[in-house]
Structure formats: structure tokens, C-alpha cells
């Protein structure tokens, strides 16, 4: 089962907009419950009250788990991700704002088995969250991370999650920019503003060796999470694009109409009045001249 099982997108909107005229207000997302199967058929219509959640397994020595998602207080999960193993991060899924529960059980253990870990998550509209199993197996915990979506103008944001047990402390750099120094296992750094570009990401351990390399493109307006993992052959670094906006936000609305199909009032009658008046004046003048000419003619005879 792959992480794509929860990429069943339904709807979302950003934070509530100030003026929504005549929008089609649709029913809010209702959670269909299922205790078996992978993703539920959440055929919810759009609301502007959605946030996003993604799930991650970042404990190197913990076996694969099944992750259960519940609406708070409901005993049957509306979604189950099966066999999520170390290093897996799901895509974001939209959920209506509200309170939810996340429980992790040993893979294949069944819904009534005692959960290895559980936590509640409060989802606010327009916000994104990562719920990650972190730490060593002996000290496993579920961390609920508040994910930033918006960057300072013209910049990118990068944070680092240190999920390598082999290297207790790591240093991370992006090209010439130092992102983290001495980030410890299980720690999540704060977001760093980074100058956009395409550079090499280099992760080294405390001794300066054992490095992991990846080349990364950071575009302005994007938010990334780098995850440092224990790979098969040493340190690995994975680049997650958390969010992306525009390189530059356009100003204001869009001028996309010329009025050809808009209703028109009666055109100005001025032109027609002018024509009528001119015609009448011409006719009168001509008529007068005719009369004068005829009188003169009559007079002569």
C-alpha cells in the first residue's frame, strides 16, 4: 500500500474571503466512516473551512504502522493508511476545520488493538499540519507540527526535520547558505528564509563527514521541509514541497470583459433628435424659400 492511498482530494479553499457574492455554498464535508479499506469516499463539496493534514513515520527503529484518522469522539476511523514505514510522508489531505484524533497501531494489528500512539489534532481553516511519529522506538511520540504556507515576498522557507538515529547531530546547508548547525535527532527546526535558487543541499554529521547530497530547486514563494533520514547507505535527505504560491502575487482583480454581452440601456436619443431637428429646419427653410420664390414669380406676371 503506498502513500498515495490518502491522496483522495476532495475540496479546499484558503481562509475565508472577505466578500463572496453569490458563491455556490455547498454542504460541508461529512466524514464517511470505514473501519476497513484504505481511503474513504469523501465526496464532500467545497467549503472555505478546510485545513490540511499529512502523516509521517520518522522513527528509524520503529516498524511499519497503520495510521487511523478519527473525527474527535467518533469510535470508527474515517480513514486508515496501511503499512506506513519509516521515511514515509503522505501528501496533504484536506479536512474540514475541527478536532480529529490520530492513532498509530502496529501494521496489520486491527482497529480494536491498543494504539501504540495517539493524539488529537485541532485543524483550523487555511492551516496545514504534519502529524509525525518521531524519536527512537523506546521514546516514540506523535508530534503535531504547525506547517507554514506563506513565505516572505521573493523568498523561500525551509525547515529541517532530523530523523536520523545514526547521526545524532547534523549540519545542513543549501549552496552557500547555512540552514542548520547541530540539529539533534528528533528535532524539528524553525523555518529559515532562504534566497531562491538551484543549489546542492549538503548534510554532514558533527564530525563533518558522512554527508548526504541532493540538488534542490527552491523557487520564491515555496515552503520546503527537508527530512534527514537513515538510508541504506548512510544519511539521506528528502525534499518535501509543503506549499507553493506565486512568484509574485498579481495586484487586484482581473480585467477580462468588454461588455459585449452586458445589458445596454437605450442609446442616447441625441443623434436622432439632431437628425429630426436638422431635417425639419431644412424642410422649413426650403419651404419658406419656395414660397418667397413663387411670390416673386407671381408678382412678375
Amino acid at each position: 500500500m503506498t502513500i498515495r492511498t490518502i491522496t483522495r482530494r476532495t475540496v479546499m479553499l484558503m481562509a475565508v474571503s472577505a466578500l463572496c457574492l453569490g458563491g455556490t455554498a455547498a454542504a460541508s464535508a461529512s466524514a464517511a466512516t470505514t473501519s476497513a479499506g484504505t481511503s474513504s469516499a469523501r465526496s464532500a463539496a467545497a467549503t472555505s473551512d478546510d485545513g490540511w493534514i499529512r502523516l509521517a513515520h520518522l522513527s528509524p527503529n520503529t516498524p511499519a504502522v497503520d495510521v487511523y484518522l478519527y473525527s474527535f469522539g467518533v469510535s470508527t476511523a474515517f480513514q486508515v493508511l496501511r503499512h506506513v514505514s519509516y521515511g514515509t510522508v503522505s501528501a496533504y489531505e484536506p479536512l474540514a476545520a475541527g478536532v480529529y484524533s490520530v492513532a498509530m497501531r502496529a501494521a496489520g494489528a486491527g482497529p480494536t488493538t491498543a494504539a501504540v500512539l495517539s493524539t488529537s489534532v485541532t485543524i483550523q481553516a487555511g492551516h496545514a499540519y504534519t502529524v509525525a511519529g518521531m524519536g527512537p522506538e523506546s521514546g516514540l511520540r506523535l508530534a503535531v507540527l504547525d506547517d507554514t504556507l506563506t513565505t516572505p515576498p521573493g523568498q523561500a522557507l525551509v525547515r529541517v526535520i532530523q530523523a536520523s538515529l545514526q547521526q545524532h547531530s547534523v549540519n545542513v546547508s543549501f549552496g552557500g547558505q547555512v540552514l542548520q548547525n547541530g540539529l539533534l535527532f528528533g528535532e524539528v527546526s524553525s523555518y529559515q528564509a532562504v534566497t531562491p535558487g538551484s543549489e546542492a543541499v549538503v548534510v554532514t554529521d558533527a564530525s563533518g563527514g558522512g554527508d548526504a547530497n541532493a540538488s534542490m530547486s527552491l523557487a520564491a514563494g515555496t515552503v520546503h521541509t527537508l527530512v534527514v533520514l537513515d538510508g541504506a547507505h548512510g544519511l539521506e535527505v528528502v525534499d518535501l514541497v509543503d506549499a507553493s504560491g506565486d512568484a509574485a502575487d498579481p495586484v487586484g482583480g482581473v480585467s477580462t470583459g468588454f461588455g459585449g454581452t452586458a445589458p445596454h440601456g437605450p442609446p442616447s436619443p441625441l443623434l436622432w433628435l439632431l437628425a429630426t431637428a436638422t431635417g425639419a429646419a431644412l424642410a422649413m427653410a426650403a419651404g419658406l424659400r419656395l414660397r418667397t420664390t413663387r411670390r416673386q414669380t407671381l408678382k412678375r406676371t
Partner: protein, 200 residues
Amino acid sequence: MVLAAGIVVAGGGAAGLLLTHHSTPAERPDTLVAALPAPTGKIVAPPEPTQVTPVAEPVALTIPAIAVSTQLIHLGLTASGALQVPSTTAVAGWYTGSPRPGSVGPAIIVGHIDSYRGPGIFFRLSLLHPGDRVYVRRADGTLAVFRVTVVQVYLKDHFPTQAVYGPVPDAELRLITCGGAFDPARGSYLSNVVVYATQV
């Protein structure tokens, strides 16, 4: 001669007055329009979290439910920072400063509702409903499919920049055209219609 001419002109003026004194109602999009067939081609799934390969640029847009089929030109920003619009009302355009359709974030596509004389490419945009499919063809021949989530109308004077252009963590579309009342004094519509869609 002049008399005759005068009578004709006056008569014409009067006739004109009588014939043109009525208003023209709005031209409304025909709700019963024959839908187009869905485009064929390789449909690409929404992006994975670790997506590294950039998606290809969008080249065409098809919206079967409202019989829209258009190539996509490139749009930038004007000198004053506003969104450029296509120079013809028969095609739609993709704002190159926004993510490519099928990448994380809101891809912006814009088209005219009408020209001076009649309907434009996005004349029927406001007829879309949640669930309608929108297809974007990319330069490599693949298709990104989106599902309409909501249709909103906003006054341009209170345009919600964050809601429309703000970052999102998944692959989305914003289809934008004009709507609402037309202001003849300004020669423009007072509102924008924004269709939100999410990749499926």
C-alpha cells in the same frame, strides 16, 4: 430638392428615435450547451510529496461541461503589477508567475467573458458546478485533471488576493473571468468570477 431632403432626414430621425428607444437585455449563456468529449491522453496523478521532476508547461485547456476548448497563452504582470489578460477574447492564458497546473500551488488561468460585440472564451464559466472536470494538456502530451470545488464571485474593489493567489499545499487551479454588473462609464465589469478546482 432641399425640401425633399429635409423631409427625408426628419423622417429618418423620427424613425430612428422610435426604433432604438428600447434597452438591450443581457446576453445570458445558454445553459443547454452540448458538452465536449473529455480529452484523451495520459492522465498524470497529483504530485507526490517528494516530487522532484518539474511538470511540463500547460498548452491547452478543455472544460467539457461548458464546451470550452482553448490553447493557453502565457501571461505576465503589467507594469502596475496587475494580471495581464489575453489580447484576444477567444483564448485563455496561464499566468507564468503561478505554479504549472499539476504542481503544488494555485495555477492561475484567465480568459475574457466577452468582447465588445459578443461572448468570449469564458462566457460560460459561471455555469460550472462542483464536481465538473477541467482538463489541462501539457507540453509533453500528458493531462492533468481537476475537479471544480467552488465558484465564487468577488467585487474587484474587494478582491481577496490571499484566497485566490495565496499558497496551498496541493495542486489546484483558479479559473478567472469577469462577472457581475457592467459599468459602462468605466467600460468594465465590477466583479470577477473565480472557479476553484483541485487536481484529482
